[in-house]
Amino acid sequence: MMGGYGDVQMIDENGLRMDGRKPEDCRPIEIETGVIPVADGSARVIWGKNEVIAAVYGPMEAHPRKIQRQDRAVLDVRYNMAPFSTSDRIRPGFNRRSREISKVTAEALESVVLLELYPRSKIRVEIEIICAEAGTRCAGITAASVALAHAGIPMTDLVVSVASGKVNDIVVCDLNKEEDNYGEADLPMGILPNTGELVFLQMDGDLSQEEFKTAWDYNMEAASKIHEEMARALKGGDA
């Protein structure tokens, strides 16, 4: 895997990716709820080699008082990667990246949670990345959304997050670590599966209009599959 940006062959002559997936395929995903018994709601998402745990506490009194909003609750989201989650040890604590992801996750979830039902209170969402293999922000948002529903927090919809990107000039869905590191673009999206609305979008790198459209379609298609798994987890295998 040596070599510079863009010169690594990651799609073979048959159009298959390094892990044997077709460009539109998503990594396998497993979701489980109730993994943290003391939390009000929790979920574990195993997505490829990613493993994410999300726990929700509240609604509770918001402290310090200066963060209280008189007309609605505040979502206090904390995204954190465990020091052992990657091969290079991560220095514990907040950093620029985790602050950014916590912020975008909170904004994506705020658009579905009925915060106005709990004025002046706080809902705490903790997302811990146990094992990271590209796409942890998407796995984190998906896990947090399931944990919120599991905690009985009223929401208009679940949020499914998934990313597509460009590798060797080919648009592929749900990038793995190598594709993320050596690929040319990355387009993570947060999608409301029942309405198809978008609550979160970021883009790294460049995509043409055509490529953007393809990545969008891949994300939408993957979101509906992931939503099935989320619903199955929440309904106890009765989806």
């Binding site: 609604p59 004025p119 002046r120 529903a149 009223p154 929401m155 208009t156 679940l158 309904k235």
Partner: protein, 208 residues
């Protein structure tokens, strides 16, 4: 039928939205995870978990979280703390000397006196049996499972008290105070955990 947030529950022309259901563009939509109920007029959701929302005259167990010179802040397991003014406290305390009456972390049995429009509530300890809890153990149950845990007309609770020779006080915020001999408390706690698990299972299955 079990539902997840965002699930479409049909047209709003025939049925009214109940708990955990909203109407969007003429369609009923679930906003909570749980079991759907339909009585022919209204469609609702019995959620898997609910937060306790205080109502006047509720008997609750709270923990002292903090205080000012003349007010205690009480965690009653609701999204908002209750306040306990010095004048409604358990004993005569002096302005600024609240800590000598109730300190942070103390558990109290109190009653909700009033709930204001902005959801904040006022608790009182003036009343029969309302006091600071100095012995025993406090367990928590989801408030919506209380009915199933205590059983029809309190049958489970009566059996539990008799079997373990303990005094048990069930409060509206889902906290249960068990007092008596240590062996009895331990036995009652174990039995209560079993009842809670059974209540969760029957609630989720939708047993009557």
């Amino acid at each position: 039928m079990l539902v997840a947030p965002g699930d479409d529950l049909g047209s709003s022309s025939d049925l009214d939205p109940g708990h955990g259901v909203i109407v969007v563009d003429g369609r009923l939509k679930a906003v909570k995870q749980g079991r759907m109920t339909n009585d022919g007029k209204q469609i609702g959701i019995q959620p898997r978990r609910t937060a306790y929302v205080p109502r006047p005259s509720d008997l609750v167990i709270g923990y002292v979280e903090g205080m000012t010179n003349n007010i205690w802040f009480i965690d009653i397991g609701a999204p908002f703390n209750a306040i306990l003014p010095l004048s409604l406290g358990p004993a005569k305390g002096s302005f600024g000397g609240l800590r000598s009456v109730l300190d942070v972390g103390d558990a109290i049995l109190c009653r909700i006196q009033e709930v204001e429009e902005n959801h904040s509530s006022v608790a009182t300890m003036k009343g029969m049996g309302l006091r600071k809890l100095k012995s025993g153990s406090v367990e928590s149950v989801d408030p919506h499972l209380l009915g199933r845990v205590i059983g029809s007309k309190g049958s489970n609770l009566a059996t539990l008290k008799e079997e373990t020779d303990t005094r048990i006080t069930v409060t509206d915020n889902g906290r249960i105070w068990i007092d008596g001999e240590v062996e009895g408390i331990i036995a009652a706690r174990d039995k209560l955990l079993e009842l809670m698990e059974a209540a969760k299972v029957s609630e989720y299955r939708g047993d009557e």
